[in-house]
Point group: C2
Chain length 662, copies 2
């Protein structure tokens, strides 16, 4: 057999064999999906996908997202066969083992060619919407000479059952992201059994209702799949191609059944599959002509990339394009922030921190064209828009503020996609309490080390009348518990600016900014060169002599701590106030800074939130003036009084701790 | 004007006037929606809804859910007008004030007639799916003589944009919940402006794709609305009636604009509205004939209820029906649990705690017909089914285990609806990590004090190869931070049974059970009458003399603590092991129990999770043997070794704390 004699079936069977062999060796994994989608993936990777395994980070490559991440062996097999150097045969043999690039689910950063981490269902398709949006907007900025690619997704029934798929598909349809093409593995099998156990959707009608093109093809007919992809590429609308497939196609007994979904096929079934497929080769063996044909498919993109490189080299925008793609901050940023800090210290505005955020964003969005904002239908509340950020409208080729709609989950996932795509630093707003709606995507941002900024306004009972459903209580704690997540709760306009700066400078970590609805005084009196908020915590108000006590506070409660300090001073008690905008950054400081800030005097904390986690810094949750339960509906001042989060209560707590009773 | 002369417009305008007046007085709220949907709500409440304000908890009442909870004044006005005694004029005047029943968003428990807490968008419609499912199943059990009602929802654009609406509507369509009728406030306005800013869905097509009936009517034409509801009631499918309305209808300048969405109309606009509506009455004044007509509408249900009461009185199933509706546990439960505990202590099984949960459920589901299980497409992993729980299939009139599909969010919301409906204690499973997908509904369960049990299996790196996307790290902490939530992490088969019992006995609190994938030894050696897990924490292994140290542990790490104890004993260090299946229940114990359990010796904790929050019980997070970051993909034993969660590491930590180095 020569390279030219290699058939589609040979190519697809190589995927099937590698997938079943690797799962078998690991004694763990999902063989059914890669075997079922091998034909579709072969057509995509050999005839359509624009990529170059020798330059996997090429900015103008097509993006491929395996939303059905449990079928990870499909992706690993494709990367190996098409010649990504990192994805060696050894890696396939080490599937799901400690330290391997071939984790159970595709992990961004483990190997080039893994465009995003998937596994939590629905995340991939929603992240891909962000990638397609990034492509659309960046091509609007830099032209089709530099940005001209597609985003392909393979998604399964599970992805389409998840609510996030609705938000994402609806947004993509609204924006008209025509370069987004979803190949739906329509195999009618889920883990529990036939999808008919739980699912009766007409998926085509559903996606048509979002303004997508949608059609169904035989997922084992390569020409039908090819023709459908051609139609999808020609359409100005996003496209869903439902590929009717047989899960674990080729397996004599388990094909078409849930038994092949999430467990190895077993030696006997694998032997039967080899016979049925006409694949007599040993485990992990791919005959040379078939491998050569795959490698030829992988080499298709090199010439296209070369042409692109020449266009980039000739482009006047080259330096800026490269800066944007590499995610480097502009050099002018520091001076712009410093000048604004000077203004704030002079003006001492009494803004709500959400307003302070908008004022910071005015400066930042003017300086940084890569900042791409948005809000989940709360623009006027989150204050995420600025004069520099025109709304992004359908067709999506310009604008810098996205009306995400009431779609918090898809918003954060799309922000992940925008960050992964490159060219943008996305931020987006909703009420802090609704971080609950998008936690799976926030977690992925942390896991993937992506720089996105979630603007969470109305961050406590300070939101007032909307009541307990809208008042965060446990959210600060629950966000602080996420590894590699920066949670900021700035106290005034200066800290808000500093927190924004820190969020942008920490380029491997997503950030959440918790911001007040209510007005707050400016407490910082000196601009200073240093970003004190980036220290995580610092002494905002020291004592003249030795400290009798230290009051730790965040955000809107720092002003309360300052008033408590006055009350205590009037009774001869010297209390320092520590503002603590970020637990996480404080933890990163050297011991000398930490011990100087915390001091040795007894400590009380005040934060209008659950005390859970504060025992890291105070001796007992009893030393936290905070919320013991859910909030209530009333004007904010009444609530602060009702829940006892007041200067008097803080002072009383300090005195009790010092053994002094009034 | 006499009662008989009162027109539809008079009735609807009473709602409009009360809504705009209450919002104006509160200087806060959402007048637009109640004014826009006044016509639809009037038709529903005067011609269709089966209810009796004098018996608001009547089990066979129709359920009405205001999913667009920001329009709370619509509901409060309706309850007042139809004669719910608690909903006085004074309450309307105190809208959004501290202590009022009329919170910013409808809060379950604040007043009869508020069937569920809404405000977080999409929750209401998904909760209503659970209510409709409860009706369908309970009527299957007890017959249409006792259970024969509908579930009505008013939902807005925001509800339909949220992902949870997809999961819920898809599930309802699949199950064929024909008694679910959603009135969609299709007003084309969201907070940011026209919905066209963010939304291009064809809502009718979308719901038809789920197997619903869907049609659009003029929401200001009462006969058209009436006829559509009649058609919906006659249909065997769930129905969406898109009511094209004008937001804030009647307001001369702000009608049809986002300006009326979330802010008071203002005195001038209110004056103009009064003129435009022909409503010359003073604020909060409803003329007597109009009030009488509304009260007559509210009195419609009394006779129907009387007939129902007679049927109940004559029913052989009366006692059991009342027990089920009131949520009282069967008296036989205690003996069944005790007998099972004896068996477990004798057999000492080495089950994974997910398997222990299934074994507990075998006993519980046999004893308690009200236990209604389910899984989000992980039945064989969560082990939530038992021989007593046949699958619930489409048509949904029998069965006790629901294939929720990959719809975690709708699952928990539906469980809330099932609990609120009454007759069932719902539980449902997914991987613990996917509590992130359903947090908003878990939070509402806690806020509403509903007894639901979330079964979260695969609760740590112990799940192994699936990798970091599937391994909970921060989830225990983030769940423990939610007020009124019980988080259980049992160590063995005995504790798992005890935790199930405690979850069922705490009837005002939702529970999460965190359960292992991997096998665990039985550690409890005596059955005992007391539910030690219900104490939250207890000394599992005491020391003979004084304690040198105490090791706190939960779940799968209790066995590790026990081995560490042996290692330490071999070096002459006496360490007690405290099993701590629930922080929350431990916090409720008397001080004597707490101090006896915690002891005065230095403490180390071991839990394969983030240490965040453990400083409540140990001096520093350094004293927690846990996870510092995300997990990895590998077999579980390799991961425990890799992340240093081993008996040797625990012993070393204890020795370091005691100043003894090996």
């Amino acid at each position: 057999m020569s390279h030219a004699d290699v058939s589609h079936n040979d190519l697809a069977n190589a995927i099937r064999a590698l997938a079943m062999d690797a799962v078998e060796r690991a004694k763990s994994g999902h063989p059914g999906m890669p075997m079922g989608m091998a034909d579709v993936a072969t057509v995509l990777f050999t005839r359509h996908l624009k990529f170059d395994p020798t330059a996997p980070h090429w900015a103008d490559r097509d993006r491929f997202v395996l939303s059905a991440g449990h079928g990870s062996m499909l992706l690993y097999a494709l990367l190996h066969l098409t010649g990504y150097p990192e994805m060696t045969l050894e890696e396939l043999k080490n599937f799901r083992q400690l330290g391997a690039r071939t984790a159970g689910h595709p992990e961004f950063g483990h190997a080039a060619g893994i465009e995003t981490t998937t596994g939590p269902l629905g995340q991939g398709i929603a992240t891909a919407v962000g990638m397609a949006l990034g492509e659309a907007l960046l091509s609007g900025e830099f032209g089709r000479d530099l940005v001209d690619h597609h985003t392909y997704v393979i998604a399964g029934d599970g992805c389409l059952m998840e609510g996030i798929s609705h938000e994402a598909a609806s947004l993509a349809g609204h924006l008209g992201l025509g370069r987004l093409i979803v190949l739906y593995d329509d195999n009618e099998i889920s883990i529990d059994g036939p999808t008919s156990l739980a699912l009766s959707d007409d998926a085509l009608l559903r996606f048509q209702s979002y303004g997508w093109d949608a059609e169904r093809v035989d997922g084992h007919d390569p020409e039908a799949v090819h023709a459908a992809i051609e139609r999808a590429k020609a359409s100005p609308r996003p496209s869903l191609i439902a590929c009717r497939t047989v899960i674990a196609k080729g397996a004599p007994k388990k094909a078409g059944t849930a038994a092949s979904h999430g467990a190895p096929l077993g030696a006997e079934e694998i032997e039967g599959t080899r016979k049925a497929l006409g694949w007599p080769h040993a485990p992990f063996e791919v005959p040379e002509p078939i491998m050569a044909a795959w490698r030829a498919a992988g080499a298709r993109g090199a010439a296209v990339r070369e042409e692109w490189k020449q266009r980039l080299a000739a482009s006047a925008a080259r330096a800026e394009f490269e800066r944007r793609i590499e995610g480097r901050l502009p050099e002018s940023l520091g001076a712009a922030v410093a000048a604004q800090k000077e203004r704030l210290v002079a003006d001492k505005p009494g803004w709500a921190s959400r307003k302070s955020s908008q004022e910071a964003l005015k400066v930042l969005t003017e300086t940084m064209p890569e900042l791409l904002g948005g809000s989940a239908d709360l623009t006027g509340s989150n204050l995420t828009n600025t004069p520099s950020t025109a709304p992004v409208t359908a067709g999506a080729l310009s604008g810098r503020h996205i009306h995400y709609g009431v779609r918090e989950h898809a918003m954060i996932a799309a922000m992940n996609g925008l960050a992964l795509h490159g060219g943008y630093i996305p931020y987006g707003g909703t009420f802090l309490v609704f971080t609950d709606y998008c936690r799976p995507s926030l977690r992925l941002a942390a896991l993937m080390q992506q720089r996105i900024v979630m603007v969470g306004t109305h961050d406590s009972i300070g939101l007032g009348e909307d009541g307990p459903t809208h008042q965060p209580v446990e959210h600060l704690a629950s966000l602080r518990a996420i590894p590699n997540m920066l949670v900021f709760r700035p106290a005034d306009a200066v800290e808000t600016l500093e927190c924004w700066q820190a969020a942008l400078e920490n380029d491997k970590t997503p950030s959440v900014l918790a911001l007040s609805r209510q007005n707050l005084p400016t407490l910082r009196t000196e601009a200073g060169a240093e970003n004190l908020s980036a220290r995580g915590a610092y002494v905002l108000a020291a004592t003249e002599g030795a400290r009798d006590a230290t009051i730790l506070a965040t955000g809107s409660e720092v002003a309360i701590a300052m008033e408590a300090r006055e009350l205590l001073a009037s009774e001869g008690i010297a209390a320092a106030v520590v503002s603590m905008p970020s637990f996480e950054l404080f933890e990163r400081q050297e011991p000398a800074w930490r011990s100087a800030v915390l001091g040795t005097a007894p400590r009380v904390a005040v934060e209008a939130a659950s005390p859970f986690g504060w025992t890291r810094y105070v001796a007992s949750e009893d030393d936290v003036v905070g919320m013991k339960g859910f909030g209530a509906s009333a004007p904010a001042p009444a609530l602060y009084e009702h829940f006892g989060i007041t200067p008097a209560a803080v002072a009383a707590r300090v005195k009790a701790l010092l053994g002094k009773h009034s």
